[in-house]
Amino acid sequence: MNLSVKIANVELKNPVTTASGTFGSGKEYNEFVDLNQLGGIITKGVSNIPWVGNETPRVAETYGGMMNAVGLQNPGIEKFIQNDLSFLQGFETKVIVNVCGKTIEDYCDVVRRLADQPVHMLEINISCPNVKEGGLAFGTDAAMIEKVTKEVKKYAKQPIIMKLSPNVTDIAEMAKAAEAGGADAISLINTLLGMKIDIHKRQFGVANKVGGISGPAIKPIAVRMVYQVAKAVKLPIIGLGGIMTGEDAIEFLMAGATAISVGTANFANPTATIDVLNGIEEFMNKYGIKDINEIIGCM
């Protein structure tokens, strides 16, 4: 049985990766799962300088999902290289670093700094709804997506994955812009902008008022977008949004994703990544599928 897939010539031993921001750099989940078994680890977003993130509360539960407004708190690229990248070198899995920024220069700074680091791919987060500048503002404007992509490509030595926001009218247009800018791959979806009100306290669920919705509640929206993007561009896709089980992962693969990420599911079940992987294998066994690539984009 072959589980390995290729994204922009980088071979993942299986299609299961971790969704940025939900898995840290793997340290904590290392107590629950064997990181060596994962196709790749996509790390928490990192910026050129340390970011403090938003005030608390930063997380709230929603029906079948959750809302977060962490605001990309991170220690900055230098500490990240010291602590996180060095930790990840101990594992046999592909390392994909998620990059955030407030300006195009911010993104380029990080990409440049990582050029000679032991990193297999870079995922550019132009879609975080929880920061005022950069993030979502970039991710909802096709011209901007193309521009950011072009700029980071100038400095990148690793393949570039552009991570798209679902908070747009036409996701295919955004994917095409990334393709036009020279992206090597696309990942989607980031979180959907939402709000929760604690009616008893008359307070917002998160201090930031709005936050990003993730989890199985949003899965059908993510599957639809992966399908639309797969039909619109030639780039490989990393699909995510609400994947809880192997069957969910198969759904994304059939819709057109070459790999998938497990996000919020980790919180609901710290062994979710491996459970998803096992579920994929079970499905393949059940239907006698020899190579996972057979089902990618089969719909």
């Binding site: 840290g24 904590e28 107590e31 629950f32 993130g53 997380v59 079948g64 962490v70 980790n266 609901a268």
Partner: protein, 253 residues
């Protein structure tokens, strides 16, 4: 360090010990054998619209029987669901989580308010030395008898229905003992007052703080609080992983 684990625990017993306050014993040997006072567990709900584990402090540990006890207030859908679990029901839990109290075993004041009281029980059991235990309630009391076994208990209630009318910090201020350590758990304003008292009076104090959590294990950065490092810089630390117990001088409230 004790390893975090995901385990299916079995309900050993559950009773309502005060209006809306439930006392739940769970059989789960491995977690019981590694848990420390001040640590907590993440309790998963069975309703699958509720994805996140509920953080609940460990109230008591029975290593011999391999059980842990939690005492919690029903405040929303999740705790309401948990309160309906019966003997022999299965619950998935994560634990033990976080860093508990450091037991200095000197003359201690344990001070807690409301649903901050439960973690004081195992602490009081394990802590050596003179113990003064100050408990604050809105009105109805709970766990008083059990805590009395381990130290001198002082009670404050908001409505004066038991003990003194007022809050726990009033009692702390009037306590005429030479204390070495304060161990505190409760609402933010209380912790703030305890912190001020401890610093003013040069008493070592450990505060157990609360924040809304998602993962409960340190991965999501959902639950941060502000702390000061040695150079006075603000550092955001994770309540679930770096806490929930912090030194008073370190944590900003």
């Amino acid at each position: 360090m004790n390893k975090m684990q995901k385990k299916v625990a079995t309900v050993y017993s559950q009773v309502e010990i005060s209006s809306g306050i439930f006392d739940l014993w769970l059989s789960e040997e491995e977690i019981a054998n590694s848990a420390q006072p001040g640590q907590f567990i993440g309790v998963y709900c069975n309703q699958d619209s509720r994805l996140l584990p509920r953080p609940i402090s460990i109230c008591e540990i029975d290593e011999v029987q391999g059980r842990i006890r939690i005492v919690y207030r029903v405040v929303g859908g999740g705790t309401n669901e948990i309160s309906h679990f019966n003997k022999d029901d299965k619950i998935t839990i994560l634990g033990p989580l976080g860093n508990g109290f450091t037991l200095n075993n000197r003359t201690s004041v344990l001070i807690a308010g409301g649903i901050g009281i439960p973690p004081m029980l195992e602490l009081a059991k394990q802590l050596q030395g003179d113990k003064h235990i100050i408990l604050g309630y809105r009105s109805e009391t709970f766990l008083v008898e059990e805590l009395s076994k381990y130290g001198k208990v002082y009670i404050a209630t908001e409505d004066g229905s038991a003990g003194t009318k007022g809050n726990v910090v009033d009692i702390l201020r009037t306590l005429s003992i030479k204390m070495d350590d304060i161990y505190a758990c409760g609402p933010k304003p209380m912790l703030k007052a305890v912190k001020d008292y401890a610093i003013a009076n040069k008493v070592d104090a450990q505060l157990s703080v609360e924040e809304k959590m998602a993962c409960g294990i340190g991965a999501c950065l959902g639950c941060v609080c502000k702390t000061k490092d040695n150079e006075g810089n603000i550092v955001r630390k994770r309540v679930c992983k770096d806490g929930p117990v912090f030194k008073a001088e370190e944590v900003e409230l």
